[in-house]
Amino acid sequence: MRGSPIRRAVIAFLLLLAMMPVLLKVTAPRVQAVVPVAAVVAKKVQLALAFTAKPERVAILHLGREIWGKEMPDAEEEFSLEIPWPEQGGELVFRVDWPTGGPLAAMRARLTDARDVEIERSLWGTGPVESVLNFP
């Protein structure tokens, strides 16, 4: 290679400058994209409860918090709740206090989600009962 040392240095510098974008891309640390867990937004779900024997109290818990409760409910109750409800479904905890020493009783719960999908679950017991129902 001919030419003055200054000229050669300038050419080398220009070559490096031209390759800069490629070099930066190759040597950059690989950063793993962190996919955030999708936030579940609050949605309206419709609940219908039916009891074979009236309990003294019924309560519904979602993620550890009581979201609905009623003393001496009617044989049939229907209401809507606004809770974070994922599309693939979720769980509700039911606390049903039937009278102690009474006969075996049952509760039917029908949940209708924001997409109008209906799911039914049943719960059986005597006295105070606490149970997790999965929808679906």
Binding site: P36, V37, L63, G64, Q88, S131
Partner: protein, 297 residues
């Protein structure tokens, strides 16, 4: 004559006193699992003497019986084993003691989960031995112990049946408690990062995904590639908390917590009972509360 009558009467009385004692000879049970010790004591009640060869807090993966254990096993009516390859010494135990007692491989009567067992630079498929992290498995194990005790001592079957029924009722209530506690946690947060792969049965029953650092044994050392992959997986899944185990060194998991920003949220009881939490119910309540409260934050 009077003296002779007195001696004769005394002998008769002594024989009469000895007879019921012989009839009430207790069954000797040798247990090589802290979980099975509780089950045998509860089901057997006053009709059994249970020797706990594996004491609470001892790692069953590393346990080896001593000569004093061998002597007790030799005279046992029933030997309870966790099984699923947990007791590597079992054939030697049988050979060395010549025990006539029944060896009940409790774990082998239960459904199995498969996992990958790492041995140095190679791995193979194996059975997960940690069946006691499922309450349903503990109920099944209770039934196995009840049936075996009843076979050995049919006269005591009503007692063993009643004791087992009362215990199973408590276990069913415990299972309900676990489900209600786990329901405090959104489904997408049920991801369990621990030292070793011990919570597969728990995960299957209660809807968790397990992300272990090492394999089935706490002695298994994770490679740097595996740790890097786990760190990425924790970040990607947005896991908020990681856990260590009672017997394991928590250093590796604490490092992973530092790298990922997850919170180190306490120690879980993985390989049976320990001196501080010495009941099955206590173990479940400790583990489930630690997991749920840690991941809820």
């Amino acid at each position: 004559m009077k003296k002779r009558t007195f001696i004769f009467s005394a002998i008769l009385l002594a024989m009469a006193a000895l007879h019921p004692l012989q009839a009430q000879d207790k069954l000797k049970v040798s247990s090589f699992s802290t979980i099975l010790t509780e089950i045998a004591q509860t089901v057997g009640g006053g009709r059994v003497i249970v020797t706990a060869h594996l004491k609470p807090g001892v790692d069953p993966h590393d346990f080896e019986p001593k000569p004093s254990d061998m002597r007790i096993v030799a005279a046992a009516d029933l030997v309870l084993l966790s099984a699923k390859h947990m007791e590597g010494y079992v054939s030697r135990l049988q050979e060395a003691t010549g025990t006539q007692g029944k060896l009940l491989h409790v774990g082998d009567t239960l459904p199995s989960l498969k996992l990958t067992v790492q041995h140095g630079d190679h791995s193979h498929d194996g059975e997960d031995p940690h069946w006691w992290h499922s309450v349903r498995n503990i109920i099944r194990a209770t039934k196995s112990v009840r049936d075996e005790l009843s076979r050995i001592s049919p006269a005591d079957k009503p007692l063993f049946t009643a004791n087992a029924a009362a215990y199973i009722t408590r276990l069913e209530a415990l299972d309900q408690w676990v489900k209600v506690k786990v329901a405090e946690l959104p489904r997408d947060r049920r991801k369990l990062v621990t030292n070793h792969d011990a919570f597969g049965y728990f995960a299957k029953d209660y809807g968790f995904t397990v992300m272990p650092i090492a394999g089935v044994s706490k002695n298994a050392q994770p490679g740097s590639k595996a740790v890097a992959e786990l760190i990425n997986a924790i970040k990607t899944a947005g896991v908020k908390a990681v856990f260590s185990e009672d017997i394991a060194n928590p250093k590796a998991i604490q490092e992973i917590a530092k790298e990922t920003g997850a919170v180190f949220s306490g120690k879980l009881m993985s390989d049976g009972l320990d001196p501080k939490v010495s009941t099955i119910e206590g173990m479940f309540k400790h583990n489930v509360s630690t997991i749920v409260d840690g991941l809820k934050k």
